[in-house]
Amino acid sequence: MKIIVTIKQVPEANKVAVNPETGTLIREGVESILNPFCEYALDMAVKLKIQNPDLNVEIIVISMGPPQAKYALIRCLELGADKAYLLSDRAFSGSDVWATALTLKEGILKKIGNFDLILAGKQAIDGDTAQVPAELAENLGIPHIYYGFDIKIDKKKINVKKETEKGYKVIEVRLPALVTISKGPSTIRRLPSMKDMIEARKKPLEIINAKSLNMDENKIGLNGSFTQVVKIFSPPTKKAGEIIDGNDSINAAEKLFMFLKEKLIV
């Protein structure tokens, strides 16, 4: 059984800011990490592999990104993936959801071929859009289920526990299908051991450019994107709030009461 996990490398979200003069992103000194939700998806794949030894699960990770995104993929290989593909080319730059989903589709069909299950993180912590997986599923003609947190494989079907607004649902779907993962099987970060790291070096990691995917230039990168970012800016800064000392709890409670009264809440 082939499980594909889509991977994104992201800047540590809390450190990114806008340069007020140029209106561009300041990325200096911002570290890149494996998107935590992608890591959850990978963890889920590893769990399925361990739980189903008879299925001969092969875990393949694929990412579209800049050359340095290979470090996120190496991390995945250390954490249990068997094989990695990085779709990397300047021609892919500026891809929006549509262009990204299309490029991933081509990468999957041309490099991996048949597969049974695709797992993706529920969202990337930089863009937070959560839209690439559904578009990828549509492009591949397979059903998708969002916000999964547990999966059971039953021959050619899976049962997915999926978060809802009020609790959860169990949904059955035939494979192949795509599931996005909102919570990992374990919330404790795993750190690869020395042995994992050495093993990972022996696993294949292939870097693929636009040409070898043979894609129409007009469908990739900025050219292939239907949306266009016209402006980026810092969010309007909130004026600093009133912070008071609560050692005198009666006084503090009174001030809180007055504040809420002013806002017409009490």
Binding site: A13, G94, E172, N223, T227, K231
Partner: protein, 370 residues
């Protein structure tokens, strides 16, 4: 520079000197002009056995009315559901709806990506709107991209701002990088322009009089086989049936509460302020609260009128889920707690001292006003 480049393309788009510009063929304006009107997805929810529209539907209508001052087109709501839902529709006409497209079918009783995509897609092809808006709810976030991919359309997710520019294009503004930056986005080449919008971002506008709107029944063609997912069971417990995304007032509790038993105090406060209780992830991990009420990156993004954080440190993953709330109040014993950076009003102190005093005040106030 190259080392830091993530090929996100934002530099190309904003470069003032056009040094990095990439040319792209323009679609003839005439073709785009054939698309007219705003369609809003009338998402339904089941509230204690009763179907009703989600609050965000009314919020989207409020925004559509504002956009329509520039456009002067028709505002319609697409309602997909099981037969027998037409009684719900009247309410929509108080919020500015001109037309309701009513798509009823047994197979639309339960939401499915396959079923809803098929029906909504044919409606869009048929009606040719210039804008389609969805709530950025769990279902909206699953449905919109599927439709966008099927129709080859641009889509902007999770918008917090919408406006119309001089060229009559929809300017879609959304936060990125956990709210540290904002981006304004256009879909210049495709129609309809599609966006999902965060609940609690726009206000609803109810008028005293109902518009004389039209209900257009759409004949729905849907086959059982085309829905590839099957719901086996659905679990929603009592505490979980409160949707924190809909609450105007949230009283949120974190690890500072010390024990599961102590959460009682927070419920008392919530009762007093007519609010709903939510929590940080730390408590969900301890098993003291349930995941559906978790606020933050791996929980829900909420934006109530009032958010009170009690014993919550304010980790970035928490902040991204709540920092767009109208008013934020924090009580925390640690003056360095990052939650104070986003608070409109903060008390550095012990919540076990302050809340009981506050409750006393509320009760005294009530008595005196009787």
């Amino acid at each position: 520079m190259l080392d830091n480049c993530t090929l996100c393309g934002s530099c190309i788009n904003v470069c003032r000197y056009n040094a990095l510009s990439i040319e792209r063929a323009m679609i003839p304006l005439e073709d785009l002009k054939k698309f007219e009107g705003i369609i809003i997805w009338g998402e339904l929810e089941n509230k204690s056995g009763q179907l009703q529209f989600k609050k965000v539907v009314y919020e989207l209508l409020g925004k559509a009315l504002e956009l329509n001052k520039e456009l002067n087109e028709q505002i319609s709501v697409a309602v997909l559901g099981p037969p027998g839902i037409s009684a719900l529709i009247d309410e929509l006409f108080y919020y500015g709806t001109d037309i309701v497209y009513l798509c009823e079918h047994e197979l639309l009783e339960d939401f499915s990506n396959d079923g809803y995509t098929t029906v909504f897609t044919s409606l869009i092809i048929d009606k040719k709107p210039s804008i389609v808006l969805y709530g950025a709810t769990i279902k909206g976030r699953e449905l919109a991209p599927r439709i966008a991919a099927r129709l080859n359309l641009g889509l902007t997710a999770d918008c917090t701002g919408l406006s119309i520019n001089k060229q009559k294009q929809l300017v879609q503004t959304r936060p990125a990088f956990g709210g540290n930056i904002m981006a304004s986005i256009l879909s210049p080449y495709t129609r309809p322009q599609m966006a999902t919008v965060r609940p609690n971002t726009f206000s609803k506008v109810k008028s005293k009089q109902s518009k004389k709107g039209i209900i257009e029944k759409i004949s729905v063609k849907l086959e059982k086989q085309s829905i590839r997912t099957k719901i086996i069971e659905e679990i929603s417990s009592k505490t979980e049936s409160i949707n924190i995304e809909d609450a105007d007032i949230l009283i949120s509790v974190g690890r500072g509460i010390g024990s599961k038993e102590n959460i009682k105090l927070v419920h008392e406060l919530a009762q007093e302020l007519k609010g709903t209780v939510s929590s940080s992830r730390a408590l969900v991990e301890l098993g003291w609260t349930k995941h559906p009420i978790q606020v933050g990156q791996s929980g829900k993004t909420i934006s109530p009128k009032l958010y009170i954080a009690l014993g919550i440190s304010g980790a970035i993953q928490h902040l991204v889920g709540m920092q767009t709330s109208d008013i934020i109040i924090a009580i925390n014993s640690d003056p360095e707690a990052p939650i104070f950076k986003v608070a409109d009003f903060g008390i550095i102190g012990d919540l076990f001292e302050i809340i009981p005093q506050f409750l006393k005040l509320c009760r005294k106030n009530k008595e005196s006003s009787l």
